[in-house]
Symmetry: C2
Subunit: 214 residues, 2 copies
Amino acid sequence: MSTAEETVGGEDMPWAEVSPEAARRLLVAAVEAFAERGYHATTTRDIAGRAGMSPAALYIHYKTKEELLHRISRIGHEKALEILETAVDGPGAAADRLAAAVRSFVRWHAGHHMTARVVQYELDALGDEHRAEIIELRRRSDAAVRGILQDGVDAGEFDVPYVPGTALAVLSLCIDVARWFNVEGRRTPDEVGVFYADLVLRMVSARAPRPAQR
Amino acid sequence: MSTAEETVGGEDMPWAEVSPEAARRLLVAAVEAFAERGYHATTTRDIAGRAGMSPAALYIHYKTKEELLHRISRIGHEKALEILETAVDGPGAAADRLAAAVRSFVRWHAGHHMTARVVQYELDALGDEHRAEIIELRRRSDAAVRGILQDGVDAGEFDVPYVPGTALAVLSLCIDVARWFNVEGRRTPDEVGVFYADLVLRMVSARAPRPAQR
């Protein structure tokens, strides 16, 4: 299972930065367990067992189950935010940057669908302080998409009746790929990303920039 | 909690058809418990307790926890399918029918977001036979949306590069409303439905019918 999660769609696995190796292995095991049975039905003993370790060995790296969820959620949200902010700050017209953002955001959610599901569906299980931190990362992701949309509107490239609602819909469309994406399906994460970028450009009625207008 | 679930957005609660009253109350309690803690972390004892009943009283109506999930999932999927098929068979051009389908499908997922989350996220917990039955209902929902899209393409109203992928994206966009919709947010289920109908018409590049062309 962990191998599939790590290599789907040729993506780097999102946990490469976690060290030492035992701490990384425990995170991967926790993602699998949470995805299969849900956070509340999973014990730290289950997670240690999946990682081939003792519960005592787990406690060296993580004091609580919630700490594992928090690490997973923070890394997942930081990667997603990095992808969006890279696209926002990239070159090109608003349409190019929006398409790039959608392509890479979808690719991430398809390629790491198990992690993404845990990150999206178990928010309520985070402690108050940790949830506040994650909500701030989500607020920044939202701001990145609103920023691209507003740039496009200002440049006369996009026709968007309500920027905040459209930004939410764009993110929602991409995030839900994690729910339905099937590694055994016909389309690769890349192909879905390209297809979705086109759908989103239609949603904002993208057209060539008209710098002199409005 | 059950009151909020039943009346949000002025929707009829989806369990009105379930009788007797005790069986209905147990279903509502099961939805709440599954939504809060996940299917695997919930016991039939938890569900009975929430409904103010004994475990023995629960077993009169449901032999297993899986039977409760199956009832919830079947009713939820049947309602969603009914909404889509009503729109497909309705009057008007393809764009009108697609807009009506999106409006009511979104309204359902926003107004019954707790039920919709359980129905969408706990599919893997169903037994093989029950899952096959639910997958068949989902296949019909998918076919309903593909049908409207194809009608629009055939009438020259829509420009859709790939009907199956677009149908999946439309359903996905609507379903994910259940994840982010917040009853304390600024928009009502109706308002989100109207907004999404416009976004989806943009996704299919809807234009006035041109019956004589192509």
